[in-house]
Symmetry: C2
Subunit: 368 residues, 2 copies
């Protein structure tokens, strides 16, 4: 019987019993009935089966459970997500840390480009990429395009919309898209080098697809999406479209899944594995040391997962954001290595010499 | 300037400072830049504004922040969700507990039927409703229809698919839908009283809409959906369709939002307020005392929010599930009152006298 394995980190209370907790997961995520009322064929063919376990600390166990592939319909990511973390999300002490992706490669496409694909498309070799965000919300399309112009003159590789800028009256989607594309085209003609623009298409599923198509049509170079607001399966759908726009995924509305080590997903699993399987070319995650909460070790684990050759998909660009000051780019470059996209927002806006100068300082530290 | 208010429960670490934390939310969820680089008009018209705060325990503060309505595009639920909990999901100690819905009634439609609408449509007065689930996953459509027949003969009001049964080969969606609808029609003709069938339409957004339409076309009485897998905005879209199928919402994949009191959403807010705003006629939540973790007080708070006349939407049916044994239905009826839909799964399957007898015992305790 074809199966795939999921690895969980369990926190077991005194008196709860690890075997009981494993049995509970095996049933909860499949038959959802007590074993004693199930037929032999359901037990043999539908219920999860523990494959191994290891005590990793006091009250903490790493456990592998095998699931029948037939419990997921053909190519159905929604059924996968439910099997992965549907009802057990409502029970404490269960964290998903790993999935056997090799058994699932017919379900997931992974990034269309990934690290090598983007390097070749954008002709950037051997160095990290630079990215920034257009903001604040409330600015006009013209104002945002002016900022884009300055960042591009300073040599930034990728400019994305702030993820909170969607289709408000301040800077409606299509007006903003047109302004930024045309401004960046002009700068590229002068500089002889392109800055790539990723408009934010985060919207209801149908509308996100519409905006993806408009972005492709009107000359954007990629798209930004918040998969936990628009829908994880929607990102995967877009990542397989023939218009082939690179996808940058933003972690808004995902923190509750990754900030409690007794529940949810390990950060390296969500950002480095699941998003990559779902087609994110760039994986934005909250960098350590800024206004968010991950440790350096957690950030490095995300980087390693995004780039690992153990997964049957192209590697994604880990894209740390937050807490990177423009003066310290070289530090992060050394810390994270060349296959990284550094995303700097606030520090460029605060820079005394203005956005263009800030972007130059940023870019110089990546090229030298 | 038109605004709406959100109430947060903050957990403030020693040395962190509550004012700093409030300021951080006001900026993070709007301009996403430090105040000192913002223009006066952005500060006046875009940034959140604290309206009040109250210390409720050591290190815990209840805080109200007012947000400009213009930060959300017209009728855009996705922009609302991002403003509500996008980036702050990645920062600890911030829990959403209340929203000023009266200011948002043009964005949210609420349930099409709600408690009174369902009572009138199904002709059920003055008593709680009974519901159960068809399972286990792995059963054929015929097997599930046979079970539906027995539950219906026993007098259950609503039969839904188990939320993990989607479109697997075991019981494909349309085959299962047709079998269950036709079986339940026969039973209704004999009994002179209808049992209502809610197939599970949880799928990728586009496919969920297709299944909703097939369910309407083929005679289903409502639909079950997992909004945290399919997408919160998708549920709202379906809740406004002219086919008018009542919607039962299932909490799979939502636990990480509601099981950590230092983060996410208060359970009463998510299940009793947000889901109601998004159009759930029935709000399934994990009942206390079973295999899930809420306290009786939390469950009662969900019930109160779902039914409260303070919201500008029809009330939803609180639908506690898990931990209700068929022998104790009267207890829960007394505990939760008549405007409740009691959902019992496992206990009906375990009942020694079989499903039909179990359903009779269940139903009798609601009618007497």
């Amino acid at each position: 019987m074809a199966t795939f394995a999921v690895t969980y980190l369990l926190a077991v209370q005194k008196g709860e019993g690890v075997d009981k907790k494993i049995e509970q997961i095996c049933l909860e995520q499949s038959a959802e009935l007590p074993r004693k009322v199930l037929s032999k064929s359901i037990i043999d063919e539908v219920v999860g089966r523990p494959r191994g376990r290891e005590q990793v600390a006091d009250g903490r166990f790493k456990v592998v459970i095998e699931w029948p592939l037939a419990n997921i319909g053909k190519e159905d990511i929604i059924q996968f997500l439910n099997l992965l973390y549907g009802n057990v999300s409502l029970q404490p002490g269960i964290q998903v840390v790993d999935v056997e992706w090799s058994a699932l490669s017919e379900f997931f496409a992974g990034p269309q480009f990934g690290i090598e694909g983007i390097r070749s498309r954008y002709q950037i070799t051997g160095r990290p990429m630079s990215a920034t965000a257009l903001k604040p919300l409330g600015s006009s399309s013209q104002k945002l395009a002016d900022l884009a112009q300055q960042f591009a003159r300073g040599g930034i590789d990728i400019i994305k919309d702030d993820h909170g800028i969607m289709d408000q009256k301040y800077a409606p989607f299509e007006e903003r898209l047109t302004s930024c594309v045309s401004t960046l085209k002009e700068v590229a003609q002068k500089r002889g080098r392109k800055t790539y623009y990723f408009p934010n298409i985060t919207a209801e599923a149908w509308e996100a697809e519409e905006r993806y198509l408009r972005a492709a049509e009107l000359g954007a170079d990629g798209v930004l999406i918040c998969p936990h607001i628009t829908g994880l399966a929607t990102m995967h759908r877009l990542a397989r479209r023939e218009e082939q726009l690179p996808i940058m995924a933003h972690p808004a509305f995902s923190g509750q899944l990754t900030m409690n080590e007794l529940q949810g997903f390990a950060p390296s699993f969500l950002y480095g594995q699941l998003w990559r399987a779902l087609g994110a070319d760039f994986v934005i995650y909250p960098n350590t040391g800024g206004r968010f909460s991950y440790s350096l070790a957690q950030c490095k684990a995300i980087n390693n997962c995004s780039r690992s050759s153990d997964l049957p998909f192209s590697p994604s660009w880990p894209t740390p954001a937050g807490g990177i000051s423009v003066e310290k780019v070289r530090h992060w470059r050394n810390e994270y290595g060349p296959d990284t996209c550094l995303l700097i927002g606030g520090s460029l806006y605060k820079y005394a010499g203005g956005p263009e100068e800030a972007a130059k300082v940023f870019s110089k530290q990546l090229i030298d």
